[in-house]
Amino acid sequence: MDFGQIFAIIIGMIFVNNFVFARFLGLCPYMGLTKEMSSAIGMGMAVVFVMTLASMATWPVYRYFLDPFGLERILRTASFILVIAALVQFIEMVLQKVNPALYKAMGIYLPIITTNCTILGVAVLNIDTFYKDGKPLSGGFLGSTIQGFSAGIGFTLAMVLMASVRERMEMANIPKPLRGIPIAFITAGLMSMAFLGFSGLIKMT
């Protein structure tokens, strides 16, 4: 895996295939936690952290346990969600002991991350990207770690953009029925239209 490929993955996940604007993943926290900038940043950081670790955990599980024993179709979904749930619980415990300040900043977002579709989404996506016709590509572990990290950064970018717009929208005179989530969706539509401009920036294989 050379530098060009790594760069393509990073740009692809942050801009071209942004999880929120191009793939419709993680819309529940995107709509629920972007009313304030602080919660948007906290959730974004927690997602980056968990997504990177989840990519690092699920790829070896698939590559060395499920695939060699022919269990990949039957146990993929169930084992991934259990690995992610255990991982999140573990992170919560470690963080509480090792770094209470960081735990205070993003601790409340950790439990809801387990059932967040971005994390399982990136785990499944790693398998789709780094497996060709049932054979693993070389550098899959590094690739999926980078893919998980940059997908998290892309998600955080979307959260921060939305939070900064919505904080100003509080003051605006919006028609009553559109207040709250409806206008947030329309704003997201405009943002995603802007992100369409990135498509074709790199050739996705």
Partner: protein
């Protein structure tokens, strides 16, 4: 509440997508064509009904502290059944739904119904609740897909409807999905506000 009322609440009064605002990701992602929408709706309904019944059956045996992991395992089992079934009999639909098929596991609607309804009620009413919520979700996806496919491709179920209509491609792209959803949510909250004023 009778079973019929439980069933009806899921479709109209407590519609999971338009009223409770859950399960937004699969709603937007699979509403680019009516065919995908029907597939997604049926898959989610099957998982909802199955998991609701099993969760309701084991609700007294599961310790309170580990209930969420237990529910997730039950849900993941049903999702795997759907995945294997569609992969074997409907490979086109399986490929079209792609990543959103395994993601039914983390669809908030399924866990929400397990936690709020099935873990407190009997098996029969949980069955009807699952059907109602599943149909409510299916109706929401179908409504969105009807608008997006109709305007974005000028077709319904793949058949052209209005001759000479030039489609607006943006409706099947992500921005069209977000905007349609925003306007529909606005419409439903307008209706809610209006009924409140009339009272």
């Amino acid at each position: 509440m009778s079973n019929w009322q439980t069933f009806k609440t899921g479709i109209f009064k407590n519609n999971p997508v338009f009223i409770v605002n859950l399960g937004l990701c699969p709603t937007l992602a699979t509403s680019t064509s009516l065919r995908d929408a029907i597939g997604m709706g049926m898959a989610a309904t099957f998982v909802l009904v199955g998991s609701n019944v099993i969760v309701s059956a084991i609700r007294r045996a599961v310790p309170h502290k580990v209930r969420i992991p237990c529910y997730i395992v039950v849900i993941a089992t049903f999702v795997t059944i759907v995945e294997l079934f569609l992969g074997a009999y409907q490979p086109d639909l399986y490929n079209a739904l792609g990543i959103f098929l395994p993601l039914i596991v983390v669809n908030c609607i399924v866990l929400y119904r397990a936690e709020v309804f099935a873990s407190k009620n009997g098996m029969a009413s949980s069955l009807f609740d699952g059907f109602g919520m599943g149909l409510g979700f299916t109706c929401a996806v179908l409504l969105l897909a009807f608008i997006r496919e109709g305007l974005g491709k000028g077709t319904l179920m793949g058949y052209p409807v209005i001759p000479g209509f030039s489609p607006t491609g943006i409706m099947v792209l992500p921005p069209g999905g977000f905007m349609t959803m925003g306007l529909l949510l606005g419409f439903f909250s307008w209706r809610k506000l209006r009924t409140k004023e009339h009272k």
